[in-house]
Amino acid sequence: MTGMSSLTRARASELATAIKNGEVSAVEVTQAHLDRIAEVDGTAEAGVHAFLHVDADGALAAAAVVDQKRAAGEELSPLAGVPLALKDVITTADMPTTAGSKILEGWRPPYDATVAQRLREAGIVILGKTNLDEFAMGSSTENSAFGPTRNPWDLTRIPGGSGGGSAAALAAYEAPLAIGTDTGGSIRQPAAVTGTVGVKPTYGGVSRYGLIACASSLDQAGPCARTVLDAALLHTVIAGHDPLDSTSIAQAVPDVVAAARRGADGDLTGLRVGVVKELGGEGYQAGVEARFNDAVALLSKLGAEVVEVSCPHFTYGLAAYYLILPSEVSSNLARFDAMRYGLRVGDDGTRSAEEVMNLTRGQGFGAEAKRRIMLGTYALSSGYYDAYYGQAQKVRTLIARDFEAAFAQVDVLVSPTTPTTAFPIGEKVDDPLAMYMNDLCTIPSNLAGNASASFPAGLADEDGLPVGLHVMAPVMADDRLYLVGAAVESAYAAQWGGTLLEQAPALEGTAQ
């Protein structure tokens, strides 16, 4: 493993082994990624623009600590020295945290999120913070107050969202690992449209302490990577009970690494797979459906028993989600009141606290944040509460029951991750309903809290862009995602002669 390009193209697991064996230093690995970022990341105007903040000094210092530990003969944790891109909705005491919003521009949190702390303890090198739709609300990263991220497959297209920065950083070889957060699909949809791997763990599987809240009953942080095993190794680092998050599950983390290794053998004999009838058909791009059907055929070929399953209430998932989510958003974003942190506008000695609050929120929040705050305020207001929010909560129960009934028959469910491939930047930015359709397949798992993931499933014929296979597993059965994902990955690697990302057009020096 020599040369800059091979360091940035290597898997996280390979880098960790090379660092452990002294074939390369953690500082060299970090420097190679910083150089790659300088080469391709660019600015809000041009380049990938995956990062909002790069902490070169901090990253090199963290890498040097790993090298010193190795030199001192200390045992290194499995991903020690491997660089990572952290979604900028997770607090870091040593770097600004903006949530993609002007209202938090320049804010330095007084504490590290549990996820950030666990990454540091594992010796993982945080390169910087990645771009996202404001407060993780969007499916294209166009709602960032700091300019869009561009899809490394085609810089005129969206990288998905809200975690477009994290997914693009992986696809552009700026980092081998990334952290995302998923409220309605924000890890899985970007993974699908960039040809990478994204896992939304079981709700409560990864601590939310220090994750700036979008919708608290739906938000879940998770691993993003270019390979299934790398995602599993990262999952193990960040998952597990945290007393600082009262919704964190106090159970052993499923053995996702063993599942990923077992899956790589490509034998799914005995696994029961359900194809969700309601997630397909009208509104789905032909190339997406074709690649999805190929993936289902592949699962059969690998020994799985595939049946069709009906989840009748999934049809109402989007509607229920766009009542529940804005309701929680309107409440969560009330904390941005211009008093304790973030932006303050108009504090000239003549205006009252309430006037300053109104001005600050009016100028600090972007269009989508405002839309959702208003929608939530409406749904929670008296006279509409029962008809909208109350009814949406009942539909949420019915969706959870659909999952229960389905998982009584099958081990995992599958669907396309998204109805379409990556669309051009600007196409849907002021058409909220069209934008919301992106999360049609991913939302049910957020409402029910079960584990789900997206894995690369090939390229759509009509546009040559990546398609994702969406796999859903029961609560705390996250290991099944990795079993299926690794089996599909190894079968496709044999078929394609490598990873899907290796088919992406070159992105050399776009920032210059």
Partner: protein
Amino acid sequence: MPSISREEVAHLAHLARLDLAPDELDHLAGQLDQILGAVAQVTEVAADDIPPTSHALPLTNVFREDEPRACLPAEAVLAAAPAAEDGRFRVPQILGEEQ
């Protein structure tokens, strides 16, 4: 399905403490109307006897020992505030002059 008027949108903006420009109000009124029309689909589902779910995990009352623990240093918290004075958050006037 109720249609939402510009006046209602202005009232919502007030409740949500959002100062919106007139053109923003017009634009949002149309979009909110369209979104509410779509999400009203939930009312089609027969769910009278279905209990609501507010949270995916069946958790109730998570307790910890009631022991004093260190909290964040005041300086660290105030360092991130828009304005601080005498070890406290400085805020614009809350009460009117006559109060």
